[in-house]
């Protein structure tokens, strides 16, 4: 079934889940207010956001040139660069690297792009075990669940949910204490870090001038994945570049502040090269896989600006729709306002045409965006594309007929009288529950009040007639 067909169903499920809505309220409120406090630590947060926006738009505007220079710099540093047009190509490249290095266990730090390509499944099919190491993603993996927030993947789960899945899957004593649960994960994942042959990470930024891959994590799993295994593979979208280290600095100033309300993430790692001669640890091989998967198509269209997104998740916390329905209802890797623009771009507007409509266009996403993306404008542009492609064929002549009638007052009056008579016949106790044909869309999710017995024109004429009578002029009406 087309994913869009499920959208209303997914929304209904989310709305029926009271626990989910309480969790979303609590989490998005907290993240949102932490962001405000963190931005206030900047002397001029508006100027800082402008600078970050400029840095990212510069990279998007020069993408092919910058990618070539980035590649050359990486190669000069001793890394190997691979290009993939599709998720399948990316997964095959990484599986081949795994096979060539005889990898059996891969540890992975959080990567949205790898969710996009379903990398874990692809590697498991090749006999390579994959372990997610971000605490939230690890629990998602244990539950065979899906992340529901860009930076807080298990925002939809309670401590009790997490305690139960750990008890079942890790054979540990049940607990609902966050510290205990985190300690269980530390013990389990530490073994994986020490045994793994291969580390897989995403990239928060790629720096063109130095060929550095910038990774931010709070837990330290990003450092583990890029330090302990023999081979490190970076899977990144082609849009994640910044030109210079100064531009990286501009973006890092707003990323953590907008995401978690920290000035900077606990660990900001810049990986430039495989281990150097004399280094005692670090990967012997560094591979960078550059994935397109629809991004070049987005660059050509009206929503090119969305490629400048730095994935902080602030627009999710601010969005009244996300706060109500949560991440799963969006149906794909990227939820919230950014997902409503990005998913149709990456996966096709035809199948994902509901997402641009999952917004009240209130503009809260644009207000909080650290790179000031005009998401409402892009949503409107996508809606326009949907309506110009998906408008029913019968609608054109119907609108022409309506225009012809509506511009002729006597004709309009007569047509309205007929319509009123027809609607009144369908009403039960003053309400109409369903309409046939195209008009049925209106009554799909709400009832229509039955029209009154007479139109304003009729009432007005009757009133004038009434007022005229006492003056004794019987012919005035």
């Amino acid at each position: 079934m087309a994913p869009s067909a499920d959208f209303s169903k997914r929304v209904e499920d989310a709305l029926a889940n009271a626990g989910l809505r309480a969790a979303l309220d609590r989490a998005t409120d907290q993240l949102g207010s932490r962001r405000v406090v963190a931005l206030a630590t900047l002397s001029d947060s508006d100027a800082t956001r402008d600078a970050a926006r400029a840095a990212r738009l510069d990279a998007i505007a020069h993408l092919p040139e910058y990618l070539e220079r980035f590649e050359a710099q990486l190669v000069a540093n001793g890394a190997r660069v691979h290009w993939a047009e599709t998720p399948e190509q990316a997964n095959r490249i990484i599986a081949d690297i795994g096979r060539a290095t005889a990898a059996r266990l891969a540890v992975k730090s959080k990567s949205m792009v790898s969710e996009e390509t379903h990398l874990n499944d692809a590697l498991e099919r090749q006999g390579i075990e994959v372990v997610e190491t971000d605490l939230g993603e690890y629990i998602v993996q244990l539950r065979h669940d899906r992340p529901s927030h860009i930076i807080a993947p298990i925002i939809h789960l309670t401590r009790q949910d997490i305690g139960r899945v750990m008890e079942q899957r890790l054979s540990v004593a049940y607990s609902d204490d966050a510290q205990t649960l985190a300690a269980y994960a530390r013990t389990k994942l530490r073994q994986a870090f020490l045994r793994a042959d291969m580390g897989i990470s995403g990239a928060n930024f790629g720096v063109v001038e130095t060929g550095a891959i910038c990774l931010v994590t709070n837990e330290g799993n990003g450092r583990m994945v890029t330090t302990m295994p023999r081979v490190h593979v970076v899977l990144m979208g082609i849009e994640k570049l910044v030109a210079t280290m100064a531009d990286l600095d501009r973006c890092l100033k707003v990323l953590a502040r907008s995401a978690t309300g920290q000035k900077i993430t606990v660990y900001t790692t810049l990986v430039r090269a495989p281990r150097a001669a004399g280094d005692l640890d670090g990967p012997e091989e560094l591979h960078v896989v550059l994935l397109d998967n629809g991004r070049s198509g987005i660059l050509a269209g009206d929503t090119a600006e969305i490629l400048a997104c730095i994935r902080c998740g602030a627009c999710l916390n601010a969005c009244p729709v996300y706060r109500t329905i949560g991440g799963h209802a969006y149906g794909d890797t990227y939820p919230g306002p950014v997902g409503a623009v990005l998913t149709p771009g990456l996966r096709g507007l035809r199948e994902w045409s509901d997402l641009p409509h999952a917004s009240s266009l209130c503009g809260a996403c644009r207000d909080v965006c650290p790179v000031r993306l005009d998401i409402p404008r892009m949503l409107l542009s996508l809606r326009h594309s949907v309506s110009s492609h998906a408008r029913p064929r019968s609608l054109g002549p119907a609108m022409k007929l309506f225009a012809w009638i509506a511009t002729r007052p006597s004709m309009y009056g007569r047509a309205a009288a007929v319509a009123r008579w027809w609607l009144q016949r369908r009403a039960r106790s003053g309400w109409i529950r369903s309409l046939p044909g195209l008009a049925g869309g209106w009554t799909q999710s709400r009832d229509l009040k039955a029209p009154p017995g007479a139109s304003f024109q009729e009432l007005w004429r009757a009133r004038q007639h009434e007022r005229a009578r006492p003056r004794g002029n019987e012919d005035a009406a």
């Binding site: 926006r53 100064a246 900077i264 660990y267 430039r272 280094d279 050509a300």
Partner: protein
């Protein structure tokens, strides 16, 4: 056509549609941070930030005091450290018998305290910067539950931008550069702050002369 050629060709075509908005001009990087108080120095700001992050810190007047402080912090617990010649103030002499980056991986992983120097500290954010290199295993600041970091007061920079500019050559010479800002943490479980998930749950800074 290779994937590379196909992607680059599509991107060049897309550029011609000119749909990318033009951004504002980028301001020149600023290296000063707004002071929290009138008499602030980079070092005093660093200490304020470290306090905010829950990082215990000690400022010692002489190299001997630094060594004594590190010895007291370590006590009798097993240590994983950088090579002695990489540690400032001769701190290596109080760490006899410590595991190093050449010890077996499992032995490194079983040490309780990691002792390292650092290449810079960033006042604005309270970050410690470690570059990878000879005798300076990344594991020492990562695997143990406690990380003791020795900072030379001359290595404190106001901002990350200043460090990027003034130490560009050092960064370009290292395979890996890491900014460590407080203890390892997560808030994945109901946004409850939990320390020491994968990296050290406790960071201690000793600043020398």
């Amino acid at each position: 056509m290779s994937a590379r050629a196909a992607i680059l060709a599509r991107l060049r075509n897309a550029q011609r549609t000119g749909r990318v908005p033009v951004g504002p001009r980028r301001p020149e990087p600023v290296f000063e941070t707004p002071p929290e108080s009138g008499s602030e120095t980079p070092l005093s700001r660093l200490l304020i930030e470290l306090t905010g992050l829950g990082v215990e810190h000690h400022v010692e007047p002489t190299p001997d005091d630094v060594c004594a402080r590190v010895a007291a912090l370590v006590g009798t617990r097993p240590v994983l450290s950088w090579d002695g010649d990489r540690l400032p103030y001769g701190v290596g002499r109080v760490l006899a018998g410590a595991a190093t980056g050449r010890s077996p991986r499992d032995s490194q992983a079983s040490m309780e305290i990691g002792v390292t120097g650092c290449h810079a500290a960033i006042a604005e954010t309270g970050s410690l910067v470690v570059l990878s290199g000879k005798g300076m295993p990344r594991a020492a600041s990562l695997l143990p539950q406690v990380h003791v970091c020795v900072v030379r007061s001359g290595d404190v920079y106001s901002t990350m931008g200043e460090f990027f500019t003034k130490r560009a050559l050092d960064i370009a010479g290292a395979a890996c550069c890491t900014f460590i800002t407080g203890p390892s943490r997560t808030a994945d479980i109901e946004l409850t702050l939990t320390l020491g998930v994968h990296g050290p749950g406790c960071v201690v800074v000793v600043v020398g002369p």
